[in-house]
């Protein structure tokens, strides 16, 4: 009962007063009667990643029924009676990391399908495998959510799924579907059997997106009463209506100046699709101006955080160059299993080694990732009402010496390494 009420209040009624009332109502009832679980985390530092970028020292976070209920200074937050208290006064509590480019939460044989050069009808939802060892490994690295996408062997390889690395079965781990449409403009689809070149790939991609948009437009015309005849339902292009309504994103396998530029010109510019630039490596950073002009374009950089510029004979940090270019929203990915997802924080550490800023890197792994997935109201920061997805680290998570002791997803401790010596 309570669960439904809480969720409805949270999701549908976007008023802080009502939200407060719902919280209040929940508090009036004894926890046992509602079957709810309350736990309290007392830590040295909470990186909230909220709108004010608050960092709270000597803080307490209360989890109630899978959601963050309260957050604040230890001296100001009262720990509810009966709550399970976890005391880690020297540790940092950080929102769970969000991995935007993941291939390893499914069965590995389902990575590619080379039958066509564009495969708008494939869905990674069907290959999610909550039983893989990778789920455990991800939690060990403080990674709590990921966008599971298919490979980049074709120009369009299907719809991605946002999952949580939670314990349980399909229903417990799928957070959002479709989470994205995976598109690759270069740098792998060349392997297609008749060896396509650059201009053909962009032509081909444009054709597919055009077909999908035409389908969407047909339906819009029908729904608005402009046309009388109901269009035929197309199971391939129907999910794309959400893409053109801005409900999910295009996750782009893109890198190098020319390809990133074409992503911005074609996917964002010509079709107005919410675009997330995955990889964006090599000299892709030279597109910073175009990314800024793209406004809601988010860059999720990596893996491999450095670029050797042959003409200048210098090594650059990719993330640092993007940041220097002034782009406001920058994250990091691992392309797991290229770099295992549990090493997401290492990728950020590398980015910082080459000049990026630590706090920005933490934000890039958390809130920016959530914003990229259009899930910033569920994950990526710690505010009352948000999913209780976080990790407790021995220190700064971007510092490679730090250990992720505890990982929590939906309020459940899914990893507890206290007393263990190995990291993963």
């Amino acid at each position: 009962m309570k669960v439904q009420f809480f969720q409805i209040a949270d999701r549908r009624i976007n008023s802080s007063l009502l939200r407060f009332l719902s919280l209040f109502a929940a508090m009036l009832l004894p926890p046992s009667a509602m079957g709810q679980e309350v736990s309290a985390y007392r830590v040295g530092k909470i990186i909230t990643m909220n709108e004010k970028d608050e960092v709270i020292n000597n803080a307490v976070l209360i989890v109630r029924d899978g959601k963050v209920a309260q957050i604040g200074k230890a001296s100001q937050v009262e720990i509810p009676e009966g709550a399970e208290v976890i005391e880690m006064p020297s540790c940092w509590l950080v929102p769970g990391f969000v991995e935007l480019h993941n291939h390893s939460a499914g069965a590995s044989t389902d990575l590619h399908d080379y039958v066509y050069l564009t495969n708008p009808d494939l869905r990674t939802l069907e290959s999610v495998n909550p039983g893989t060892e990778n789920f455990k490994l991800a939690r060990a690295g403080g990674v709590t959510s990921a966008l599971l996408i298919s490979g980049s062997g074709t120009n369009m390889s299907g719809l991605g799924t946002v999952i949580k690395f939670a314990e349980g079965q399909m229903g417990d781990v799928v957070l959002k579907f479709p989470g994205s449409i995976k598109i690759a403009q270069a740098g792998n689809p060349e392997r297609y059997w008749f060896r396509v070149g650059r201009s053909f790939m962009n032509y081909n991609l444009r054709q597919t997106l055009q077909a999908a948009r035409d389908y969407h437009q047909e339906w819009l015309d029908f729904e608005s009463g402009k046309t009388k005849q109901q269009p035929l339902f197309d199971p391939i292009y129907d999910p794309f209506r959400g893409l053109f309504r801005g409900e999910f994103i295009a996750s782009m396998h893109t890198q190098q100046y020319q390809v990133v530029m074409m992503t911005l010109m074609l996917v964002k510019g010509q079709f107005g699709i919410r675009t997330v630039l995955d990889h964006s490596t090599f000299d892709g950073y030279k597109n910073a101006t175009l990314v800024i002009e793209g406004q809601d374009v988010i860059t999720i950089n990596g893996p491999r955080q450095l670029y050797f510029d042959g003409t200048q004979r210098r090594i650059f940090g990719n993330a640092h160059r993007w940041w220097q270019g002034g782009i406001p929203k920058l994250g990091i990915n691992t392309d797991s299993p290229v770099i295992p997802q549990e090493e997401l924080s290492y990728q950020a550490a590398m980015a910082c080694y080459y000049g990026w800023k630590t706090y920005e890197a933490i934000r890039g792994l958390t809130r920016i990732g959530a914003e990229a997935l259009l899930l910033e109201d569920r994950i990526g920061s710690l505010r009352p009402g948000m999913d209780a997805d976080f990790a407790i680290w021995s220190g700064d998570p971007i510092d490679p010496r730090s250990t992720c002791w505890i990982a929590v997803i939906d309020g459940q401790v899914v990893r507890d390494a206290r007393g263990e010596l190995r990291r993963f």
């Binding site: 100046y257 020319q258 910073a288």
Partner: protein, 498 residues
Amino acid sequence: MKPMFRGLLGAAIVAAGILSAPARPARAAEPPAKIALTGARVIPVAGPDLEGATILIEHGRITAVGADAKIPFDAMEIDCTGKVIMPGLIEPQSWRGLDVPNETLPVAPFLDVADAMDPSRLYFEDALRDGITTIHVIQADSTVIGGLSRAVRPIGLTPDEMAVAAGLALKMSISPRGGYDRMQQMATFRETFRELDEYTETIAEQKYEESLSKENKKVDVGPAEARQRGRKLLTDADHDDQHRNLMRLKRGDLIAWINVGSAMDVAPAVQLATEHGFFEKTVFALGSDTFKAIGELKKAGRPVILPEDLFHRERDSVTGEIRETFIPAKIHEAGLMFALQPNPNSSMAERYLTYQAALCVRHGIPRQTALEAITLNAAKMMGLGDRLGSIEAGKVANLTIYNGDPLDFNSWVEQVYIDGILAYDRSDDPRLEELLRLEGVAKEADEAKRQAAEEAKKESAPADGQNAEPKPTEESKPAESTSPAENARPRRGGGGGR
């Protein structure tokens, strides 16, 4: 004035987020309202040279040229005394602007180079440095029908920002693409155009029937007549992508840019162009020995792009003698319009268009013809002769400023204006500066080596004489059987020298 432009350029660089050199690719600035370049020797190409002339530029266009051109009160004046101003050079065809030069599909008229252009290529920066303001980017030769080309300026962040004219020419190659032989190549052309005819007939008939049914009329003529009438009703939108550009080619809306890699390809090229009605819009890009079909080329009278290497060399199989032919001389003799291209494969000066033109002058071609071959002719071939290629009122302000005669190889490109924007300034070229610095270092090293060699010679000379100085100690003695001078020269793997 100049600092202001540099400020604009600087702003573009900072905006691009590239805080240290290099600035490529950078957003193109807006052209200044009015500027007047004064005092220079102007080579308009469209007419005789002008001494001490003024070029007035308003919003990127040339509005007046001449010694007596009036400078409006609100124009910023830039003193170019002692300089020589040329129209910006034009590279008539290049695939170096492409990320991948060729497509794999043999017949791909629906493709556009804009989808594969890479504005971040250093090639574009080099083009500016060499005074080139317009580049015709087109697919390379390994194709049958290779897609649409685009004329660009070497500034801007995206192919659209760089565009001078989009969808300009359709690339074709008579010389066989990789993996094809000549018969297969020509059979592919035949099949393509025959299929196009069949397709057009089908949609023409449909179109005619549709037009009748709109007026509730019944088909009143036989299929042949219906097709005839339907053809007149067809628009671009009626064709699918595979056929649209071929139709436009046949209709004369596209330039046929045909690679004619050898002499034997000329006749089939002329036949193909004539048969399908685009002969009048054809430009031939020649290979090294294509000039041997000079009679056929002359008869065709179409403009030609000369190969990158202007010399054709043949070795006599018996005597081993090498015979050289200077291709432009043959083409000029035949009275054909030609355009030169730089030779990127040459480590020598052939990579500069001005040097290619100077070579022509050296081989007896009139200076005016040589200058046209690197400016106006290419513009005309692209159908842009009314906008580019010469310094005349009404044309786009694409200018290259030299500190001496452009065909003198001691002259530098000082500034380049594109659409009235100061796009290149030699005093603000960190990469060139670095190159010259390295050259200086190398020169110093050479000088030091030379001196060391001389000193070593001096030292060894008295040793042969009677009053010899104390002989060098064992340690400092050079290795056996090498002269001191030789020893002073650094050798691979052998240390020595400095």
